[in-house]
């Protein structure tokens, strides 16, 4: 009981500090994107695993150490998901996890623009560019 009172006190202190600041909206947006990204991706992975159990291993052979033919390009993941291929659905979930920080960066650009902080719009755009280039390079480098 005592602990609870203290926590509300802390929350109030945090809120008081936050309310004065226009950057609060940015923080809340970033926080929501991160949390929902993780929840959605984990959900998709679980759906893929359920599909795997329902459909049986089908064409899946080998073990952990052996190389299975799993989709690892955007095109093969999406076409696999359309067929409800379990491995493709799991890969989609993993891809969504990877894209969570990327969307956090994209949302930050919008948020900084709303704050009219152009210096940080530019800085954040550079980070997004590095991420996009990494995906482009990854495709070529395989």
């Amino acid at each position: 009981m005592k602990k609870e009172t203290r926590e509300t006190e802390d929350d109030r202190a945090r809120a008081a500090l936050a309310d004065e600041d226009p950057a609060r909206a940015t923080e809340l947006m970033v926080s929501v994107v991160l949390r929902s990204g993780v929840l959605i991706s984990a959900g998709v992975i679980v759906i893929g695993l359920i599909l795997l159990v329902l459909r049986g291993a089908g064409g899946l052979g080998g073990g952990i150490a052996s190389a299975l033919a799993f989709p690892h390009t955007f095109a093969s993941v999406f076409s696999g998901v359309a067929r409800l291929d379990p491995l493709a659905v799991i890969s989609l979930g993993l891809m969504l996890i990877i894209l969570t920080p990327v969307s956090r960066v994209a949302v930050s650009i919008v948020a900084f623009a709303m704050e009219r902080d152009w210096r940080y719009v530019a800085i954040t755009a550079v980070v997004l560019a590095v991420l996009i280039v990494s995906f482009a390079l990854g495709k070529g480098g395989s």
């Binding site: 202190a13 893929g48 920080p101 590095v130 990494s134």
Partner: protein, 293 residues
């Protein structure tokens, strides 16, 4: 199917344990799950690194969501330094594709030993050993770096432990940024979050308070890891049947670990884990040099 199912459950169980231990020790799941996968389950290093990097994005995004809301993560500092960590991570991920597997084991062992150093020091102090003081107190009293002022790095957060607001300025931005490049490189090369290096840059080099450093490092880990994870994914190093249980397991384990932290943070438990991890580091080193005992 049963064979596959059993393997899946083993990887899941190992990952849950790695997540719990990682968050209890404040090391992160990756540095624990990689030795577990490679040494005990004989997974190829790059596949283990690919699975680990995805799990790191999941755990760091989850905890960063809370830190950002509580104002502990400094978003501006994080965004600026992510330029360096993400470029480093891209370089590291490409390097991982070309260097020999044995070299990855050796570098991993060295990074793990380095990560254990602060923990070993803390344990030694608790055991009453006399050590020379080290730390960042020299940053006090120096005016903030003009670059830090220009980039709006100063911030304030509320610390419930001391019940007051803590305000801080930052110093030595170029040095911190340089360390961040190498933090990104290690992250991309080994599939770890390399939070230890990020905290060194923020706390030791730039003089950020420890709590803010940890939270900002956590905030940055996701973007750093995403920069290399895309390359791992498209290269075919993210095997869904390993990465899925590792991601879900480490995520679940770290959530449990955070809740256990308050009750189980005693010195004896840390000494046991410290010893186990030191042995694991030596094993990784031996594996890298192809020596079997």
């Amino acid at each position: 199917m049963t064979h596959l199912f059993v393997q899946f459950l083993i990887v899941l169980a190992v990952s849950i344990i790695a997540g719990v231990v990682g968050s209890l020790l404040g090391l992160g799941g990756g540095i624990i799950v990689i030795p577990a996968l490679t040494l005990f389950l004989h997974v190829d290093f790059r596949i283990a690194a690919g699975a680990s990097i995805v799990s790191i994005i999941a755990t760091s995004s989850g905890s960063a969501a809370t830190y950002v809301k509580d104002r502990l993560s400094n978003i501006r500092v994080g965004m600026f330094l992510e330029i360096l960590t993400s470029i480093g991570a891209v370089c590291g991920a490409f390097l991982a594709g070309v260097v020999k597997g044995s070299a990855l084991y050796v570098v991993f062992a060295l990074v793990l030993l380095y990560s254990l150093y602060p923990m070993g020091r803390k344990i030694a102090l608790e055991l009453g050993w006399r050590l020379h003081p080290y730390g960042k107190d020299q940053a006090e009293g120096i005016p903030p770096d003009p670059l830090a002022a220009k980039l709006g790095f100063s911030s304030t957060y509320y610390d419930p432990a001391v019940k007051r607001e803590i305000s801080y300025d930052l110093h030595h931005v170029p040095a911190g940024a340089g360390i961040m490049y190498f933090a990104g490189l290690a992250s991309g090369l080994l599939g770890i979050g390399s939070g230890v290096f990020k905290v060194v840059a923020l706390d030791t080099a730039m003089g950020m308070p420890m709590k803010a450093s940890t939270a900002t490092s956590n905030f940055m880990i996701g973007v750093t890891a995403a920069a290399s994870a895309g390359i791992y994914f498209l290269r075919g190093d993210i095997d869904p049947l390993i990465a899925a249980p590792v991601a879900l397991g480490v995520l679940a384990g770290s959530l449990v670990g955070t809740r256990l932290l308050a009750r189980l943070a005693g010195a004896s438990i840390r000494i046991i884990f410290f010893a186990v991890l030191a042995i694991i580091a030596v094993q990784m080193l031996l594996r890298g040099f192809n020596i079997s005992l």
